[in-house]
């Protein structure tokens, strides 16, 4: 999920402690879809925990909202729920933590049991998701090859 930097979310969080935006991008699917949902971010106060969905500025000038899957010292290892790469982000670079969201018109808070269970399961099944993604790409490649051969 990305958000344009022009809004200056850091200042908003410093001033009001909370910030909200609609969701943009595909990297946090199936939890969030572009423009469908709303996320509420809180300024970092009590530190960052594994499974937190955190907001941090990206080098390309956007803000990224992805999930912490591991913390080692002061480095967070972060991955979007729908991506296949790890980002290494310093704890001090993280400006906010998602505390609630409105998905398909329904409010959820991140301390809720069902959401916490979802987070854990989603991170736990990553190897399966990765394997399925690999199979999907492979099958597509094979199909494309067969299709090409038939055509020529």
């Amino acid at each position: 999920m990305e958000q344009s930097k022009s809004l200056n979310i850091e200042d908003e969080l410093k001033k009001h402690k909370y910030y909200a935006t609609n969701t943009v991008g595909t990297s946090m699917q199936p939890l969030f879809k572009t423009h469908r949902d709303m996320v509420i971010i809180k300024a970092v106060e009590d530190g960052i925990k594994k499974y937190d969905v955190v907001l941090y500025p990206h080098k390309h000038g956007n803000y990224i909202l992805h999930r912490v899957i591991k913390i080692k010292g002061d480095i967070c290892y972060i991955r979007g729920d729908n991506t296949f790469y790890l980002e290494r982000v310093s704890v001090s670079d993280i400006i906010g933590v998602m505390v609630a969201f409105n998905r398909k018109g329904k409010r959820s808070d991140t301390d809720k049991f069902s959401y916490r269970l979802y987070s854990r399961i989603w991170v736990f099944i990553y190897p399966l998701r990765y394997a399925l993604h690999g199979i999907n790409i492979f099958v597509r490649k094979v199909y494309r090859r067969i299709f090409k051969r038939k055509k020529t």
Binding site: H16, Y18, T21, H35, K42, N102
Partner: protein, 88 residues
Amino acid sequence: MKIKEGFVIEEVGGSYLAVAVGDRADSFNGLVRMNGTGAFLWRELEKGDVTRDMLVEKLLSVYEVDRETAARDVDGFVSKLASEGIIE
């Protein structure tokens, strides 16, 4: 008056935040911050077909304020929403 379709409002930490979702997000890319009174008026405006005077009466029936204060609150809030293109 009515809040346009496509806005979501949520309470957090004692204040209220509203953003646009769906198709409305294409035309509105901001964040509206409100206190409890604002959120109360917002909810009334969501129902649609409300006038300024109706909002003032609603405020008076729920909050212990004098008519002058209620009217000032309504006018301030409505003009803020109007200037941001949130009501129709």
